[in-house]
Amino acid sequence: MDLRVVGLTHVYAGAPVLQDIDLEIPSGRILCVVGPSGCGKSTLLRMLGGLERPDAGAVLQVGEPPEGCLNPLTYIFQDFALLPWRSVAGNVALALEDRRLGRAEIARIVDDVLARTRLSAYRDALPRQLSGGMRQRVAIARALAVRPACLLMDEPLSALDAQTRELLMDDLVGLWLREGFTACYVTHNLAEAVRLGHRVAVLSRRPGRVREVIEIDMPLEERAERMPELAVHERRLWQLLREEAAAADQELADV
């Protein structure tokens, strides 16, 4: 299943936030979206998953989600969004509970996904007992449990410290190599964007438009070793963003 954004425009409190966004997320690839803060990246992501309604334009699913997919468009949130009163297993199970699966089937999926994400030892722990990195791993496990067609990731590493971020980035790359998921990955971190994105879309400051989409051909598994080559892409992204970011930084917030 591909995801296509056509002519998407959104106005918030009289001011345009997003204008004429056209994007394509082909199946099995990762699109990173970068932009200065307040450019509407997160709004765009909320529209991709149907949590917010665009004022004009549309988000289209092209083709059917794969067989056995429970929740085609699945989010991974910046602040994890785990229920603090549920254990790790309970949090993963939550995503499966309204889907007419039997108790045994839910338990089987939870066990399976916790094993795949190496979280089985933590199944009864409460979120407050876990580090930030582990909490995000649980949130990723929860997202995988519903066998998504497309993952929508809203700055999933931004709430973590630099070292944990590096570890989780390796996890994500490993996960993509194994499972080949489709994703839209919103971030303000250019290094993350060039590590994980097959393509990187650069948004301008408010109202957000697509300034450019750059293609990064290098296979994901080689990127950790070929950082210097990636730095070229990163520099190019920064040139595109620099003025926008500076201007966005000077703006007065009026909403």
């Binding site: 909320r46 949590l51 429970l70 468009l73 699945t74 989010y75 549920r86 939550l94 889907r99 519903v146």
Partner: protein, 272 residues
């Protein structure tokens, strides 16, 4: 001064003065009980030494004797049974209605527009002032007393629950929606547990209000009940019985607080 400290002092170095600490009260398990026992012992001593006139305030031992008499005559069970029955009914109904109204006000715009001004208008009215009306509506029997407690606990409960629902993390609700949970599931599995700390603190406040209203309601036309017992004792100037009645009320308050404390520890284990 130790050897290295001496060496530092010669260079004109001294430790940075400590100015942190404090502002973090910790539970002291037996301090509360000990303080209460000490106070009662002091009171007893004052009475024995004649510093407090027995007419003004009976000694704790006299009040306890009155309590023992009451228990032996079998009346304690009757009074307590009647009171606890009213308390349980009125408080349970008030809490349930308050949770329902608070949830509605927290979740639906129209309900919020209707309920909030109503609560603001009716909460400040002392429910005791309405007791004569309740007696006309529901009769002099149990119903009017239960209704007084129900109304008295309903409003604080509504406010607590509504505030709690408002404070539930919106990203958790978005998360529920993004995983395709039904509205009912989101309320049951995300909103209610998220509002549970506020619900429990609302229960604490409303339980105290319920006990106050119970006594007030029982002072009008009740044969049995702790309030009726205290009123009768007051009319007879039997201060030892009066203090005994007050002790029963305190014990009720302590018991309720202890039960709610247990519920909090159980239901809010997920909080640090």
């Amino acid at each position: 001064m130790s050897e290295p400290a001496c060496a530092h002092a010669r260079e004109g170095a001294r430790p940075v003065p400590y100015r942190g600490g404090g502002f973090a009260p910790r539970p002291r398990r037996w301090a509360g009980a000990a303080f209460l026992a000490g106070l009662i012992a002091f009171w007893e001593m004052c009475s024995r030494l004649g510093w407090i006139s027995p007419l003004a305030l009976p000694a704790p031992s006299e009040a306890l004797a009155a309590l023992r008499d009451l228990a032996q005559s079998g009346l304690l069970a009757k009074h307590l049974g009647a009171s606890l029955g009213r308390l349980a009914q009125g408080w349970t109904l008030g809490v349930l209605a308050g949770i329902a109204a608070g949830l509605a006000a927290g979740l639906f715009s129209l309900a919020r527009a209707g309920i909030l001004p109503l609560v603001a208008a009716l909460f400040p009215i002392p429910k005791i002032a309405l007791l004569p009306l309740f007696i006309i509506w529901f009769g002099i029997g149990e119903e009017s007393k239960v209704a007084t407690i129900l109304f008295g606990t309903f409003f604080p409960m509504t406010i607590a629950v509504y505030g709690g629902v408002d404070n539930v993390d919106r990203t958790l609700i978005r998360m529920g929606q993004s995983f395709g949970l039904s509205r009912l599931s989101i309320i049951r599995k995300i909103v209610l547990p998220g509002a549970m700390p506020a619900i429990l603190s609302g229960m604490r406040i409303s339980a105290s209000i319920a006990i106050i209203l119970l006594v007030a309601a029982e002072m009008i036309g009740a044969e049995y009940g702790v309030g009726a017992y205290i009123l009768l004792a007051g009319n007879l100037m039997a201060t030892d019985q009066l203090v005994a009645g007050v002790m029963i009320l305190s014990a009720m308050g302590l018991t309720v607080s202890w039960l709610l404390g247990m519920a909090e520890r159980r239901l809010l284990r997920w909080r640090a």
